[in-house]
């Protein structure tokens, strides 16, 4: 363990990390966002979904630095008197949950299909890649819209809110696999022809073991990068869907839902209801994107 830590601290990766203040800042921001989201029930000053805690008396309070603001509600309150900071933390929790689950789902599908396509080749490969091409020519958001649209029609109305989380994870997860599949297939094709794989075949190692223990670990670098950037883009997709009213319902709001709800108050001057969740979203996505960018450059041997 100590040895592994020592190796990490001595590695090029850690060195390039330390050297880029922007990346360090992004890592800290991402850590704060994630911690705030994951531990929202313990960290948030209020529980905005506990009816006993909210009062209409406190509705539409501006943030603390504006006239009329209260130090109890640092970022103000919404029209129902809920603390914006707390709703943001709870909302991030939903956003993050959806994004991570959808990314993991895309990754599992994509990596498996990519690995199989690259290693097996032939008709299997043509078929998988053809499907990927077609899928790629349709923007993820459209497919996600369609899936959640279908879900909306098929599911009984009373179940829609309950199942919204699963429908949205499914619709984002199903649209994201192509990039993984293409990348993994690409690196599998490269790795497959490398002599260490041929050496394993000469030794007589079975194909699935070669795929799993030789090819896969060497194809995972770019997957890590895509997954990081994928979380960011899944957060965005979810927010967009929720904003369009086909994502998370108001009873279980994500950041996108919050922004959508707050938007109606933008013109009447209560800008904080929509802007603060917006900022939280931006900070979260930018920091994750920055980490992904850094990871890509750090893992790209050509740039060193």
């Amino acid at each position: 363990m100590m040895q592994a830590l020592a190796r990490l601290l001595d590695s090029d990766l850690w060195w390039s990390f330390k050297r880029s203040p922007l990346t360090v800042a992004a890592a800290i921001a991402a850590f704060l966002c994630i911690a705030g989201a994951v531990f929202a029930p313990w960290l948030a000053p209020h529980n905005p979904y506990d009816l006993a805690q909210i009062s209409l008396m406190n509705s539409n309070l501006p943030p603390v630095f504006q006239k009329g603001g209260s130090s109890e509600f640092l970022l103000g309150t919404d029209q129902q008197g809920r603390d914006i900071l707390s709703t943001i933390m709870y909302g991030s929790r939903v956003s993050l949950l959806v994004a991570v689950c959808a990314t993991v789902m895309s990754m599992l599908i994509g990596v498996t299909l990519g690995l199989v396509a690259g290693y097996v080749g032939g008709r299997v490969e043509s078929f998988i890649m053809r499907v990927a091409d077609i899928q790629l020519s349709f923007p993820a958001i459209l497919i996600a819209l369609l899936i959640s649209g279908i879900g909306r029609t098929v599911l009984p109305r009373e179940m829609q809110d309950q199942l919204a989380l699963y429908v949205i994870i499914l619709s984002i997860g199903l649209t994201g696999w192509v990039q993984y599949a293409r990348t993994v297939r690409g690196s599998t094709l490269v790795e497959k022809n490398k002599e260490y794989v041929q050496a394993a075949r000469v030794i007589g190692v079975p194909s699935f073991r070669i795929m799993l223990f030789h090819v896969l670990p060497n194809a995972l670098g770019p997957v890590l990068v895509i997954a990081t950037l994928g979380v960011a883009s899944a957060i965005l997709t979810e927010a967009t869907l929720s904003f369009l009213g086909v994502g998370m319902p108001p009873t279980q709001p994500s950041l996108g839902t919050l922004i959508n709800e707050g938007q109606n108050y933008l013109f009447s001057g209560e800008w904080w209801i929509t802007i603060f969740p917006g900022i939280a979203l931006i900070v979260m996505v930018i920091s994750v994107n920055l980490l992904g960018d850094w990871l890509r450059d750090a893992l790209n041997p050509k740039l060193r």
């Binding site: 490398k194 002599e195 260490y196 041929q198 050496a199 394993a200 075949r201 000469v202 030794i203 007589g204 190692v205 079975p206 030789h214 670990p217 060497n218």
Partner: protein, 333 residues
Amino acid sequence: MSAFVKLEHVSKAFDVSPPWLNRVLERKPRVFLHAVSDVSFEIRRGETLALVGESGCGKSTVARLIVGLYKATSGRITIDGQDMRSADDTSEAARALRRRVQMIFQDPYASLNPRWRVADIIAEPIRTHRLITDRAAIERRVAELLGCVKLTAKDGEKYPHQFSGGQRQRISIARALASNPEFLICDEPTSALDVSVQAQVLNLMRDLQREMGLTYLFISHNLQVVHHVSDRIGVMYLGRLVEIGDKRQVFGAPEHPYTRMLLDAIPDLKMTGKARTPVAGEVPNPLDPPPGCAFNPRCPRVFEPCTRERPELLPAHGREVACHAVTRMARAG
């Protein structure tokens, strides 16, 4: 001594046809790349046979056919009397045969999995074939193998990128030796190495052959290296064997015009003032080889039958040659 490895009329063609729709619309036929055509030779136990030729002549394909990375289109490959085709399946006999034949690759940087520790790389054949199951015993065996290639047991803890090219190639050799093989196929094992390091690897290979009685098939484009390591030499051109025989015969008194040209094209290190005679022309497109003898467009001794009829590999002057001019002379003499 009887033949340990035997190839009989082995051919390998790759289908490189344009897609179906193009063939239909543009009336193009199916296209096959004949990488290896009708190659037959034998290797005796304990000897080194070298295959030489320029890139694209099919020498590496032969190597891959023998270890089973490719399946031959036609012909038969036997090792110690056992048909290599049985190596397709996962039978016990096939596994046993795989264990006895190992390969050393060209690129020391690509032939070791960068994410594995050296000890795990070397232990892989042992674990795959379940030669030893006891962990401590595997460890001892790996240490012993590392010693064989002049590395230390501690080197096993490191990753491949911590070694130089020559050291990596020695690790490859250790891995190949791990399953106690009898036959090693070496595909350009030193062409990616610097000269001084090449000498280390060649010396090591020779020592190992002496100690373990290994049989080598050595593939290289470097004629000096081939001359140094081999007992017998086969020269390939466009997928075919054009001359094969004892090293002193083939390189000392080459018969096939192509062999002669190759030897003439070697830079003269001793600087005897003899200018090197460049071979005219280039290797023809293998998809569309010239009729008759494939070498005829570049051959200075070309005469009528060469463009018409493919010469057979026939014995002449103590070796086998596929050349109309040579066989005619031999018959006349």
